[in-house]
Amino acid sequence: MNETPLWASESFWKKTAIWVTAGSFLILVVLTFDSLKQTTAGTQRVPAYDVINKKIDYQFDKELNKFMPVIGGEELLFGKEFTEEEARELVDLGKKTTQAKNCMNCHTLLGNGAYYAPDLTKAWLDQGWISPEMREDMMIKFLMDPGKNARTYGTGRKMPDLGITETEAKGIVAFLKWMSSIDTNGFPYNFKTLYAED
């Protein structure tokens, strides 16, 4: 009984540890290549940046049994049709601004971040902007002067003035519009957009 059985021996577990780690990592690398390919801007899951020229909605898909982005016809942003390159530049400015202003330490983006302020994943489609006609103007005003245009819903939790310029605000709006078109596997569930009729 003095002999250590294989399953309790050090060398067995050492080899197992090495093989399991290497195997898992290899699978992760393969999946990473595939995931990055499937989520490059301009794919089914992550649309090209010029999607900001179009109407974006988010509806329940009965066949897939989940909420899905619905890309419709033309609905220009700031009354301008952007080329793919112009759109990418504008979204890029917006994305960079959200990082430089540290938005993620109050808000969540794609559900990740802090929980002091609302999720921004589908913020472009939020009913809080009342109607598609009023939306752009309200968003720009809110971003540039959040104290005066506060949207606290009675909680007193106001966004601080972050010194966002008009150009940056436009970038952020473009970024939010583009982000709302990403296929997020049905998250958030049950979200009713400002296009929804009820």
Binding site: E10, T16, A17, V20, T21, S24, L28, L31, T32, S35, L36, Q38, T39, T40, R45, V46, L93, K95, K96, T97, Q99, A100, K101, N102, C103, M104, N105, C106, L109, L110, G111, N112, G113, A114, Y115, Y116, D119, T121, K122, A123, D126, G128, R151, Y153, G154, G156, R157, P160, D161, G163, T165, I182, T184, N185, F187, P188, Y189, N190, F191, K192
Partner: protein, 505 residues
């Protein structure tokens, strides 16, 4: 200015320097720690521990400020906003834990390798460079806070990415410091002797440093950006850090209880196999909703559901060994914190993580206070506890290997610090869990995550009282921390009896 001009300023500054030097002298006389008892490698280790404790205090302070803002939103509005406090809160946490790990490794390195640290000089430089960089980053966080939507803001001020907000220049500093550290570890083991613990540690450090690089890029495409961002956060916290803790735990159990090397090293391999086997692909549970393909729902759900298994193994390991050695140890506070680690890691990371890791549940809990609840118990249970255990190991040696047990003078301090910190964090965890449940129901399930739904959930009495309880338990945690710092500075002072450290059977 009375004394007038530049000369006056210099004179005043001189007085100030003299006075603070006096205070420092008084402090050292009070603490009565004799650093000549420590080897040069361990003198470097305690430098890391000291900064770790200071950052731990910063973490709690800024956590309290952020907790207050949930209750009084006008508090420090547009002066130190929630975003700033929360960023310092979580960054201080990540950095103090890293400091604790680096210190712990430097502490055990000479003992484990049987030789002196090879590049100690570089290690000391790296320490000062890192500490200077951390101080600068925090000052910029507090006083500059944000920048314009340009690359320069991300390079100099803040990258705006949760947990790894440090500006890009600091990223390079961090990588350089970790590489220096890595060199010291490998060179020292190579000069001395290798062991199972040494091998696991070396491979883990390669992964730890390599993964950080994945988070050093700016991308317009938020799906890609968050994909790589999780490589750093998840593969650090749920894989490489856990293995690092396994290494530190293995060494500590040998020292504290006299467990045989063969046993701890076999356990370490089992833990590595289970930890990486579940944790690497468990990364998929962060890829449910960021735009990545649907197969992650299956892979992430399955493997992350397995993640608690190694943590069960670690509990069995720690508790079994403690029992097998009849809890005979020369350092009671350290062993108590090791036991707290085993359970805290299992409940905080394992159970609390499992509760919301399946995609069917995570659809409603993602991005709510559930994550905050899990985060508090997991970081504390898995990482704060082991670091605190190590602080007690270090202070004992620093005092000259004196007796440290339940019956020593002022033992109430370490016992109450242990109790208050654990009760405080557990209380915050439960309060946040209640808030998370409420938020999942009202905001996510019923209201569909609109802005109106978000604020409706935040206004519910259940949510608001949970936030008050969180602050209350935050204050309990803070009082525990004050007591802990006091105890670490004074425990064993004037104690003459030597500890009976167990010999390896």
């Amino acid at each position: 200015m009375k004394s007038g001009g530049l000369a006056g300023v210099i004179e005043n500054a001189g007085v100030l320097v003299d006075r603070s030097r006096g205070y420092w002298q008084d402090f050292q006389n009070w603490v009565q720690l004799d650093s000549s008892r420590l080897s040069p490698g361990r003198q470097l280790a305690v430098k890391y521990f000291i900064v770790a404790v200071i950052l731990f205090c910063a973490q709690i302070l800024f956590g309290l400020l952020a907790a207050l803002q949930f209750i009084f939103p006008g508090f420090l509005y547009e002066f130190l906003d929630f975003s700033v406090n929360r960023m310092v809160h979580i960054n201080a946490m990540v950095i103090w834990m890293l400091y604790g790990f680096l210190g712990s490794i430097y502490w055990l390195l000479e003992d484990e390798s049987g030789t002196e640290i090879v590049g100690l000089k570089y290690g000391i430089w790296a320490f000062w460079i890192l500490t200077g960089a951390v101080a600068l980053v925090v000052l910029v966080y507090l006083f500059v806070q944000i920048g314009a939507g340009e690359d320069s803001s991300l390079w100099l001020i803040n990258e705006g990415r949760e947990y790894i907000e440090a500006p890009r220049w600091a990223d390079f500093g961090i990588v350089a410091v970790v590489l220096t550290f890595f060199y010291n570890v490998v060179a020292t083991f190579s000069k001395g002797k290798w062991s199972g613990i040494a091998g696991v540690l070396t491979l883990d450090l390669v992964a730890l440093a390599g993964l950080y690089v994945a988070g050093m890029f700016y991308m317009t495409n938020i799906t890609h950006e968050q994909y790589w961002w999780w490589w750093v956060i998840h593969l650090w916290v749920e894989a490489t850090w856990e293995v690092l803790v396994g290494v530190i735990m293995a060494w500590s159990l040998m020292k504290l209880l006299g467990v045989r090397r063969k046993i701890v090293e076999t356990w370490l391999y089992i833990e590595v196999a289970l930890m990486f086997g579940s944790g690497i692909l468990g990364l998929g549970h962060h890829y449910f909703w960021i735009g990545t393909p649907e197969y992650w729902l299956t892979i992430g759900g399955f493997f992350s559901a397995l993640e608690p298994i190694p943590l069960v193994a670690m509990v069995v390991h720690a508790v079994y060994d403690s029992g097998a050695h009849s809890f005979k140890t020369g350092n009671h506070p350290a062993l108590a914190w090791i036991i707290a680690q085993a359970f805290g890691n299992f409940f905080g990371a394992g159970v609390w993580g499992f509760m919301h890791t399946l995609p069917q549940i995570n659809l409603y809990t993602h991005g709510t206070q559930w994550s905050a609840s899990h985060g508090h118990l997991a970081f504390f249970g898995a990482y704060a506890t082991i670091n605190i255990a190590f602080f007690y190991l270090a202070i004992q040696h620093w005092r000259g290997d004196v007796w440290m047990a339940g019956g020593i003078k002022h033992a109430w301090r370490w016992k109450w610090a242990l109790g208050l910190l654990n009760v405080g964090v557990l209380g915050m965890t439960i309060a946040l869990l209640i808030a998370g449940y409420e938020q999942s129901f009202v905001e996510r399930a019923v209201e569909g995550s609109t802005w109106g739904g978000y604020f409706a959930a935040q206004s519910q009495p259940a949510f608001q009282s949970a936030m008050t309880w969180r602050l209350f338990f935050g204050l309990i945690t803070a009082s525990g921390l004050v007591l802990l710092v006091w105890d670490l500075l004074t425990i064993g002072k004037g104690e003459e009896r030597k500890a009976e450290m167990p010999q390896q059977a």
